[in-house]
Symmetry: C2
Subunit: 316 residues, 2 copies
């Protein structure tokens, strides 16, 4: 026999409250409504749910058993209301983000942790990828946000993007690299050392190629590639290799004393770090709040870099 879920919930409220009147109040209903519900239920079941002629109201064993089930429904219902409410204000939910590996590892992971200080009930699901993967994932609604460098001109699709950081690459090396001893290292010096290549498909790899070509290099000594950021860092700690990295990534790792930037200016890529999302995406307040957090974190980072550069003498 199918029982109306609402009826079970009312029964649960009455049993828990110990009376029809109180139970009705608990649900914000009138007493007759609940009273009738109980009558109907008893009628349909053909079994009494309460011991007759007894006040305080005493449920029969069957009544008690059914009330238990109603109780779990009531709990589920309240939780559902909570999820909705939480979703509305971005307090709960899941944010699925994708991004390029270096930025995610060096910067975003920490920002996620920070974000969850104020949003402990928001879960973050992270994936890695480059622009084309991320765009596809966004369109397939597999992620809510993408964080990656994009060509500034690129536009016109059904993706909305907000620039959060202008592109700026540096040549990175281990903190004991011999080139750091030189007063004024020249671009040509770079060709004397082995290179670590950023992961295939990454914009950084294109930047690396074009930079080296602009320095007149015909051939590059690639000694290592394909590693994650942590691999690259550990590699560079012991090898006198060079690589190209986003400025902020190197900056954010400055306290590790593992890698640093060479004081050589290289061309800015025509590219900016941006947050992408579908323009027609379903509202996802938690994702919006997370995006805001990332933006403001980068804003702070930018100020920090500015102050840092005023106190430290960088290249030229």
């Amino acid at each position: 026999m199918k029982i109306d879920e609402r009826h079970l919930i009312q029964l649960a409220a009455v049993v828990k409250a110990g009376g029809v009147t109180e139970g009705a109040a608990l649900l914000g209903l009138s007493q007759p409504a609940v009273s009738r519900t109980l009558s109907m239920l008893e009628g349909r079941l053909g079994e009494p749910l309460f011991v007759k002629g007894r006040r305080p109201l005493q449920p029969t064993p069957l009544g008690r058993a059914l009330a238990d089930h109603g109780q779990t429904m009531l709990a589920a219902s309240r939780k559902a209301s909570d999820t909705v409410e939480g979703f509305r204000v971005g307090r709960t939910g899941v944010v699925r983000i994708g991004g390029t590996p270096f930025f995610m590892d060096a910067l975003i992971a920490g920002m996620i942790a920070e974000f969850q200080n104020s949003h402990p009930d928001v879960r973050i699901d992270q994936t890695y990828g480059y622009f084309s993967d991320l765009r596809a994932a966004l369109k397939a609604d597999q992620i809510d946000l993408a964080i990656c460098p994009i060509d500034i001109l690129d536009e016109g699709s059904d993706l909305e993007f907000q620039e959060i950081l202008p592109g700026r690459n540096v040549v990175a090396c281990g903190v004991t690299h011999p080139l750091l001893m030189k007063r004024r290292p020249q671009p040509a010096d770079l060709l004397d050392f082995p290179w670590v290549a950023p992961p295939p498909g990454s914009p950084l790899l294109a930047d690396l190629r074009s930079m080296l070509l602009s320095f007149g290099a015909t051939e590059i000594k690639i000694r290592y590639s394909g590693g994650s950021l942590l691999s690259v860092i550990n590699y560079m700690k012991t090898a006198n290799a060079l690589t190209i990295m986003p400025h902020t990534v190197v900056f954010s790792l400055r306290n590790e004393k593992a890698i640093t930037a060479l004081p050589i200016n290289i061309a800015h890529p025509e590219r900016a770090l941006a947050i992408l999302k579908r323009v027609d995406a379903a509202r996802a307040p938690a994702a919006d709040q997370f995006a805001n957090h990332v933006r403001s974190s980068f804003e702070k980072l930018r100020h920090l870099i500015k102050r840092h550069e005023q106190s430290v003498v960088w290249g030229n």
Copy 2:
């Protein structure tokens, strides 16, 4: 925001089934019905529950979260239906029984275990008491069944009773008792030994008194009283004491080789073991089935006793 539980359940069905049509079928509803439900839900929430323009239907994160809650409701609902169905046929439920200690310990406990071989989902709640307690408990709907000796004439109340065993007491003693050596022990011999008294308030105690009085005893040596059946048995194992007990109780303990009955006939009490219940009690099929089980168990026991007595020579 309050959400209609039914809507959540429909949502859950659709998400689980992977489509509106299949979800509707799962619930035995028409497709337009649940389609409209989903529209209403999205309208009220102001949030989409499914990613538009995509088939197979893909829920949004919010939709998935809400569907989870709906799923637990659906499960609870099914369980509730099961409870009702089980209750109807006596397959599930709680049976609250009360009875006199000796019968419960010696006979009923084993019958309960046996009963639950065929009714594993029926829980038995047992309490102890004598007739007046049990009657009160029945009237207060604290127990569903009482199993106790009652005076045969007693009637007329709002209790229904079914006799399951005529009253028959024996004098019990330890298996090493000296009186067992005697060819034909006489009632007068009984006065030479110390006695264990049944618990105060028990019918057995009254039987003991009247029996001893009928033997011309002016005073009885009570050495021990108040113990449960197990206490009495253990006491009698080592003391040459006597006590009075229902015949079936001693009989059911025959394999323990701890106590036995003296071959002395004593008066039958004007009393019978019966199952009592309220005539106006709520239907409790599980209790009914248990009562049937107890009755048939006693029936079997009676036959067993009869066969036993034909092979063993009892007193006189």
